[in-house]
């Protein structure tokens, strides 16, 4: 087992800015000794590539891609496994003037057909000219790409055997695109974020310098998938642009053994790691039965959190679980961002404890104002949010009312952002791009939030907002409350509104559960109904559905719009007629 690459370059000065392209960043990092380490589920280094070697291999492969005659900016689909070849291919594209398109991996039990269809749509929308993966996934990839004309499909070794061009490489320049990321939009109609060299390098520089105040001696670790912006930009491109070593574990290995993440942080004295709430929650769950012997988290400087709604209760549990092994409360750094802004827009102060804001839900529902509420009052009336900090320098963030005017402090509205990190648009999708990008350089994120002294609090997705009798209700609220019931699992609830004929809205809640038997189900329905009423003060139609009937986006977020569309199409009702055991619907 090789030793991991060093944390600090002996001679090469630490440099976090001044790179206008990814290739410039790699050319510099390649002069040091740092690089990428890939761990097995048993915690051993099974593969390794220094930035020096990454540069050599990427340039060599780039010459083969050039010889294949792909047009400049041709799209190259790469199934984003956490292996060195992914990085080599990604950077070969940068050197060859091609655009890498990282694609998701098959992870669901029995989900083969659905997966093939998903990547088929993505490759077709990207108009990919080449697609590559490892030997064990090649059959899936071939199946997905078989009807796409002009698509060259091969394994990494197939591409390594192609002839090299004898030319000088023309890497992607500062005014050219960088990569295309399909993690936005629903599964059936994915939208490809076109990141440019400028948006990518601007965002990374801002994150490293201002957001996370990176320094020599930082070491990063990641289990995040490389087809998602937090994994790709945060933990593949970002570390490279500051010549920092990364220790990787595969996402599926993390899901099985999350404490391995913490063990490697401990062993390698890592300082930076990110995760959505889910990852921290999983660690707490496993820590209940697992041993924390030999884990020391005192080196951990930045535990970034973002990617979904940040739940203060999850952070609190993580702190109380891991404080005994050296975890510091101030390590948590809440952030807000989206793939359309490359990765990040705001960070809470990296050196301070994270802050929360608890507001009066009744006042909010009636007036749209986030009024602070005392913590000793009625728990049903309040809601706690984690504050995500200020936008990074050079970036703008505004909260607007529906008429476009700016809100006052603590007034909830639509989050708009601007700055050099914004994407060029959705790939070959003018209509979708125009829906979110304004002519004067702002983007409507689709998210809602409010500001406190310039610091952002995200409250939810505006398109998901439920309005009943003039009151605003966040679907998250209903979902999370139901998820706290012991029979219900996290992520298994979708709440949305359905418009009635008179234009008013009514609430529908679809709940995945495995409870069987009429009596038990009726009992559960009653408890859910009570819970919703207690949480949101509304009555809701409740649908009990089998596990895995909810629809997720490709980045694993709940797609309420899709669940709603299926509900309206009768997908849930139909099956309830077939079997009393299948589904039951309780009208109000």
């Amino acid at each position: 087992m090789p030793n991991p690459t060093p944390t600090i370059n002996e001679k090469l000065p630490f440099k976090v800015s001044g790179f206008d392209t990814l290739v410039e960043g790699l050319e510099y990092a390649a002069r040091g000794e740092t690089g990428l380490n890939f761990y097995s589920v048993r915690g051993e280094v099974i593969a390794q590539i220094s930035y020096t070697e990454l540069r050599v291999r990427a340039k060599e492969l780039a010459l083969r891609l050039v010889a294949a005659g792909f047009p400049r900016h041709g799209r190259v689909a790469i199934l984003a496994e956490t292996i060195p070849q992914f990085h080599v291919f990604f950077f070969a594209c940068q050197y060859a003037g091609l655009l890498p398109v990282p694609l998701l991996l098959p992870i669901n039990l029995g989900g083969k057909e659905a997966y093939i269809e998903q990547i088929r749509i993505m490759m077709a929308k990207a108009g990919a000219c080449a697609a590559v993966t490892s030997d064990h996934l090649i059959e899936l990839l071939k199946e997905a790409g078989k009807s796409q004309p002009g698509l060259l499909i091969g394994t990494y070794s197939d591409f390594d055997q192609m002839t090299k061009a004898e030319v000088e490489l023309q890497p992607l320049g500062p005014d050219e695109p960088c990569y295309i990321q399909y993690s936005s939009g629903s599964t059936s109609s994915p939208k490809g974020v076109t990141a440019t060299q400028k948006s990518t390098t601007s965002n990374i520089t801002a994150i490293l310098r201002h957001g996370l105040k990176c320094r020599q001696g930082d070491r990063t670790i990641s289990w995040l998938p490389l087809y998602h912006d937090m994994g790709l930009v945060g933990f593949a491109l970002g570390p490279l642009m500051m010549q920092v070593s990364v220790d990787y574990i595969a996402t599926a290995d993390f899901a099985r053994r999350p404490l391995l993440w913490l063990k490697i942080i401990s062993d390698n004295k890592a300082t930076m790691a990110f995760s959505p709430s889910f990852g921290y929650e999983l660690c707490c769950r496993r820590a209940k039965n697992g041993s924390l012997d030999g884990i020391d988290l005192s080196s951990w400087r930045v535990a970034g959190i973002g990617g979904d709604m940040i739940r203060a209760d999850v952070l609190d549990t993580f702190i109380s679980t891991f404080e005994p092994v050296g975890y510091r409360r101030s390590t948590f750094v809440p952030s807000y961002g989206l793939a359309e802004a490359t990765l990040a827009m705001t960070f809470a102060d990296v050196d301070e404890d994270f802050a929360r804001d608890t507001i009066d839900m009744q006042v909010y529902a009636n007036s749209g104002i986030a009024k602070p509420i005392k913590l000793n009052g009625n728990a049903d009336k309040r809601r706690t949010f984690v504050i995500c900090g200020k936008p990074m320098p050079g970036h703008g963030l505004e909260i607007r009312r529906s008429d476009g005017s700016l809100v006052a402090d603590r007034e909830v509205g639509d989050i708009f952002i601007s700055g050099p990190s914004l994407m060029a648009g959705y790939f070959q999708d003018k209509e979708a791009s125009q829906r979110v990008l304004t002519d004067d350089g702002w983007m409507d994120t689709g998210d809602m939030g409010y500001l406190i002294d310039g610091e952002l609090v995200v409250t939810g997705r505006s398109k998901d907002l439920i309005i009943v009798n003039g009151r605003n209700i966040w679907p998250h609220d209903i979902e999370w409350a139901i998820e706290r019931l012991p029979e219900i699992r996290s992520g298994g609830v979708a709440a949305f509104s359905v418009e009635k004929s008179d234009g008013t809205e009514s609430v529908v809640t679809v709940v995945e559960c495995r409870v069987k038997g009429d009596e038990a189900r009726q009992q559960l329905l009653r408890r859910i109904k009570t819970t919703i009423h207690a949480t949101a003060g509304v009555t809701s139609k409740i649908v009990l559905a089998p596990l895995r009937s909810l629809t997720m986006t490709s980045s694993g977020k709940l797609s309420r719009a899709k669940v709603k569309a299926r509900f309206l199409a009768g997908a849930f009702e139909d099956r309830s007629n077939e079997s009393a055991e299948g589904l039951s619907v309780l009208a109000e």
Partner: protein, 84 residues
């Protein structure tokens, strides 16, 4: 490494699946793990972890999308054991 006996692997797998078999249906090699047992994605990983630990094997994750039934699972365990 000797071939792991099919029946033994099957019995062991069924024993591990027992906690997820809330309706007490009879487990056969054709039982669909995801739909008939209604086991969630985190629980599936728990199960895979148990099998890995019992047999000292490591499931390549690309295999997951092709596993549907108890029989599929048993066959992969046998294959992984014989490849050790």
């Amino acid at each position: 490494m000797p071939q792991e006996d099919h029946d033994l692997v099957f019995q062991k797998t069924c024993a591990l699946l027992k906690v997820f078999n809330v309706n007490n249906i009879e487990l056969t090699k054709d039982t669909d793990i995801a739909t008939e047992l209604e086991i969630d994605s985190v629980a599936i990983l728990d199960l895979i972890m148990e099998l890995e630990d019992s047999y000292d094997i490591s499931f390549p994750m690309n295999l997951m999308s092709e596993l549907r039934t108890v029989g599929d699972l048993v066959k992969s365990v046998q294959k992984l054991v014989s490849e050790k």
